[in-house]
Amino acid sequence: MKFDVVIIGGGWAGRTAAGRLAGAGLRVCIVSEGLSLAVVHDKAPYSCLADLQNKGVTVLRGDRAVEGIIAGDRVSAVLTRNLGKEMPLEADTFILATGKFFSRGLLSDMTHIWEPVFGADVAYDADRTKWADPEFSFHQPFMDFGVRTDKAGHVLVSGRPVMNLYAAGEILAAGSKEFDTDSFIEEYEHRIG
């Protein structure tokens, strides 16, 4: 299946991007495993999945991206749990919007934190004792952890930017650049004239 944009993650960041991109005429697919924290707690604005479908978005409900295939400096496809290898999701652009720890956008063990779909570079403190502040009400360092991007917003994998992979929402590390929907749509409209 080939799309203009595949969005991985059906939380508020993924849904918001999906709604706007589809509204601009792009062929969009969104992989939405389940309810995210922000959606459960009614953070606005977001679109419900049925609205997205009405806008022509292909919604893969209850599915999860398990592997991103990177060839050279580009993602060629994403494999999902339900569609498997037989039906890779192909697209010109991929947006990673799987959130932080709660939504399993980032996984961790006693010593490491990693991003499971693309193996994207994750910014975090190597010293686990510094992941949290002992004061609950203070700023918590682990909330700054997340995937790294270059200045243009390309997600870094093994230190190198992947030119068609962007990130949106909570999965981003503090200081990384979020996928810029406005510029992306502007560029798209310019390209199709």
Partner: protein
């Protein structure tokens, strides 16, 4: 003019509470003073293990005999606090079976029913234990809820006339002509007592020093981890010389792994928490008992302090066992009116109380007999409450036994804490019976917020209900409680615990 008591007991842990109950049952007028809440110290920060004595059989025969005697007594008098899980001592190839042979023999010598069972049978009983085992021994270990046990003692003491003064520190012991005649509280009140009993765990040494008495105490820190699942139904021990992290105890729906054992400076005892290094050690060893612990969600880590007493230099301190230490400061230090009861274990606290109360009676010239070995505690009297048993009351019956007859479920049957199924009626009961200042206090008496979500979901509801009972601001209750939970989560903050931390943070700091 404040009341004069026969006995003033300092310390609201299991030792103080059991001593208070014994004194009250013997007809003494008595007061317990506790600087914080009941069960604030080591009594609320332990394994919840009712020892059979097997763990001590090889190294401490006397301690082992005390344990098995008290184990049998508590199963009867505190049936509602004890879960009769039984225990397994497992041998791994690196442990060999030589120790097992000595272990079984020593258990039998101490009167502990220890039976070797086939490793295949052990794995059938407990499929989660390490499949590499080469031997297993079944012993009468059990799980005990320490909060429930202390509360039951407090309730019974009060119903027999004892007074309890919580959230009140003792500033000094009052002496007249070299004799201790009472205490002065941090609020400035002087309260007179004919005998003062120090039962303040590791904090005993500092209080004694106030009266010019030196007790050499060695704080020994023990850290533990709570897992969010009940991975085994028996208490699982390693059959080897006692070491770090070799006991796993089931408790309600969780499992507790511990402990470490490290000498710590006495100044650190007021702020105990498990460190990431201790957690790593616990996990490394715990995985040898039950391999799946490596992947089991951790709820939190915590630490308590054992009040160990260094060998009494005077040598006349009634040091009746290597565990229990009863000091008569009249004969030992020339300070009449003062007694110390310390050392020991949660399992042997009733015996410690009996010994301390015997000495109190001797000092007061009384001959009243101890009844605590046969008299059941409130909640364990075996009178099954007559309810239709709807599900929202079942958990409360499990926690409080026939005490639920004092809860008004008709006007407060709604569940507030989902994990532990605590109703508004139970909160009102805890406020009424125990007096609480905050949610942490409430937790000790109801298990509120102790479950799998650690209060993430319910804390605002709980705070609202409690604030209504206390007439205070709920927002302060929320932050205070989450800070307390945070302390236990930060040493284990990875994997699923980190997932939960993000949730707790966002929902309760309104950051979504």
């Amino acid at each position: 003019m404040l009341k004069e008591y026969d006995v003033i007991i300092i310390g609201g842990g299991i030792t103080g509470a059991a001593t208070l109950r014994d004194c009250a049952l013997r007809g003494l007028s008595c007061l317990l003073i506790e600087r914080g809440d009941i069960c604030d110290g080591a009594s609320g920060r332990n394994h919840g293990l009712l020892h059979s004595g097997a763990r001590y059989a090889v190294t401490d025969r006397e301690g082992a005999e005390e344990c098995i005697r008290e184990n049998r007594i508590l199963r009867k008098i505190a049936s509602n606090c004890v879960e009769q899980t039984e225990g397994l001592f497992i041998s791994l190839p690196e442990d060999g079976l030589d120790y097992q042979a000595i272990f079984i023999q020593k258990c039998h010598e101490a009167g502990i029913d220890a039976q070797a069972i086939d490793p295949v049978e052990a794995l059938r009983l407990e499929p989660a234990i390490n499949p590499r085992i080469i031997g297993a021994v079944k012993v009468p270990d059990a799980a005990v809820d320490p909060f429930r046990l202390v509360d039951a003692h407090i309730l019974d003491a009060r119903r027999h006339g004892a007074d309890i003064l919580k959230f009140t520190a003792v500033a000094s012991l009052v002496k007249e002509n070299g004799r201790v005649v009472g205490v002065r509280t941090s609020k400035g009140d002087a309260i007179r007592g004919r005998v003062v009993v120090l039962a303040a765990g590791i904090w005993t040494a500092g209080l004694a020093r106030e009266a010019g008495v030196n007790i050499g105490m060695m704080p020994s820190k023990g850290s533990l981890i709570i897992f969010g699942h009940r991975v085994a139904n028996h208490v699982i021990n390693r059959c080897r010389k006692p070491a770090n992290a070799d006991i796993l105890v089931p408790g309600d729906v969780v499992s507790v792994l511990g402990t470490t054992s490290d000498k710590v400076p006495i100044e650190t005892c007021d702020d105990m928490h498990a460190t990431p290094q201790e957690v790593e050690l616990l996990l490394r060893e715990g995985e040898q008992l039950v391999p799946s612990l490596a992947h089991t969600r951790i709820i939190r880590a915590y630490a308590g302090v054992r009040p160990l007493v260094v060998a009494d230099p005077a040598g006349d301190g009634r040091n009746v066992s290597r565990g229990i230490v009863l000091l008569d400061h009249e004969t030992r230090d020339g300070v009449p009116g003062l007694i110390t009861i310390t050392g020991g274990k949660l399992t042997t606290a009733r015996l410690m109380a009996e010994m301390a109360t015997d000495l109190v009676c001797e000092k007061l010239g009384l001959t009243a007999r101890c009844e605590t070995a046969t008299r059941c505690l409130p909640g364990s009297e075996g009178r099954k409450p007559q309810f239709m048993d709807p599900f929202n009351i079942r958990a409360a019956i499990g926690r409080h036994g026939e005490e639920v007859s004092r809860m008004d479920f008709d006007n407060g049957g709604e569940i507030v804490c989902e994990c532990e199924q605590v109703t508004r009626a139970e909160i009102a009961y805890a406020v009424r019976e125990f007096g609480v200042r905050n949610v942490s206090d409430l937790r000790r008496h109801t298990r509120i917020g102790m479950g799998t979500c650690q209060g993430s979901f319910c804390i605002k509801k709980v705070a609202k209900v409690l604030a209504g009972e206390l007439g205070v601001d709920p927002e302060g209750l929320v932050l205070d409680y989450l800070q307390e939970r945070w302390k236990g989560m930060t040493p284990v903050l990875w994997g699923d615990t980190l997932r939960e931390a993000e949730y707790m943070l966002k929902v309760n700091r309104n950051e979504i």
